[in-house]
Assembly symmetry: C2
Homo-oligomer: 280 residues x 2
């Protein structure tokens, strides 16, 4: 990652969605890749891979309060294509999103799938991860760690429900409702602590979190739930005198930047690599 991080040409390759002013509107664009052996378990139903591929990109749009206009796909052909297409059809129908185009290739080795999603911002300024202000309250939608349990269910074939991992649901409606007043917003793809650290860094503040206030799927494994990704919930900050218009848990407050961009119960978390899932 060092080569990419230090090269000016690569500065655009962040996890954040891009915002493009166009025709009097703001377009939101995002591109994510899933790879076999990295993001996808060997035993996963290709229909679920297709669902997740589209859903994680729609989640990036959700974090910008954008309504989806369509997706483009880069698909590596291979076994299970019929299932892949079935899942693709399901996720596109579920969210009313057209497939605008894409490319198919036949390649050897582990496969990868790319998806570009394009959306229209429903509110401007478009929320970003850099707008958190000292005094803001910090919120999260849903419950964290459900994807962790779903992943284990799938990996261990223990019969438990793995939907939260295999078919994440982007918070599109919530994102659009929150975009009006949220001071900062992002989706949690790599774990609350790492993504929260990113928001704090981008905003030049510290996100001070209260561990017990954070809703987790498995209280005995709270720290794991906070550093495991794939939940695709929304993390956002809100002015202290305002209430979010959608169900969300208040999990802390934004404070002046301290020893790290994130703290948990007053302890600054400084080692980035222990916070969550780091790609590459």
């Amino acid at each position: 990652m060092r080569a990419l991080a230090t090269n000016p040409a690569a500065r655009g390759l962040s996890d954040d969605a891009a915002v493009l002013q166009f025709g009097g509107e703001a377009l939101v664009l995002t591109h994510d890749v899933l790879a076999e052996g990295v993001h996808v378990l060997p035993e996963q139903d290709p229909a679920d891979i297709a669902w997740k591929l589209v859903a994680v990109n729609l989640s990036d749009l959700a974090a910008k309060g954008a309504e989806p206009l369509g997706v483009l796909l880069g698909h590596t052909l291979g076994a299970g294509d019929e299932r892949f297409l079935a899942g693709l059809g399901e996720v596109l129908a579920e969210y009313g999103v057209p497939l605008l185009g894409g490319d198919t290739i036949a390649a050897q080795g582990p496969r990868s799938w790319g998806c570009t999603a394009i959306g229209r911002a429903t509110h401007r300024p478009v929320p970003s991860r850099s707008g958190a202000r000292v005094g803001d309250h910090i919120f999260v939608t849903g419950t964290l760690g459900k994807a962790l349990l779903g992943f284990e269910a799938l990996r261990d074939r223990n019969g438990a429900d793995h939907t939260a991992y295999s078919r994440p649901r982007p918070r599109l409606a919530e994102g659009q409702a929150l975009a009006v007043e949220a001071t900062a917003m992002m989706d949690i793809s790599d774990g609350l602590l790492l993504d929260g650290w990113r928001m704090g860094e981008a905003s030049g503040v510290t996100l001070a979190l209260d561990a017990q206030a954070i809703p987790v799927a498995e209280p005995n494994r709270r720290r794991e739930c906070l550093s495991w990704g794939d939940d695709y919930e929304l993390l956002f900050t809100f002015p202290p005198d305002r209430q979010p218009p959608v169900p969300a848990h208040r999990i802390g407050a934004v404070v002046a930047k301290g020893g790290s961009a994130i703290s948990l119960d007053g302890e600054f978390l400084t080692s980035k690599h222990s916070l969550g899932y780091v790609h590459g």
Copy 2:
């Protein structure tokens, strides 16, 4: 490919760029993937891979008469990333195109790279491959087969110039000038004969080509030059009473649909697979 071609969910996965009406403008979107071992020679400079990845997507925009607004990249990390980024910087600077975003992954096995390009149509209706009318004249920009010779130079390391293969130049300016009056237009990525067949099919006509009128880089290997891809020249049809505003060779005329959507010196070419490069 059969699974994809017959599944409704996959109908959008064609080679053609997508056109999206938005904010009073027409957006053009395209996504292409290059894969190691398929589109890329092992000995290729990663800087050239980056150039080509962006250039082939810009070529899709050129065929729509679109001006580029930006690109998003899906990059598989690996050896030569510094060179890849150098080439990426070069092609983006050459065409004044911003990198809007993207994703990087670390995966095993042969790598692939995806690129999404987004552009603004400079003329509406936006040219497509389906607008060729009986009586139109058929034109092509540039000389075909240069990429073939460049490919061989690179493969055989014979010291000849391989720029035409490794650093194709999208015909952006030509595409914008032609979009005003061209009845149909596409870029030649898979060979004149196959892409011409596609245009004929989409338009419900036959493209009747005159072999000797087609400019080729190696006249002794004319047929090869016509069925080899990667030249990224523009193929377009024009009303018979109008002259194209950019340099181009007239190579035939559109006639009522006969035994195939393409003919060469009066012979209908009916076997799709002998016409050019078929992906997947």
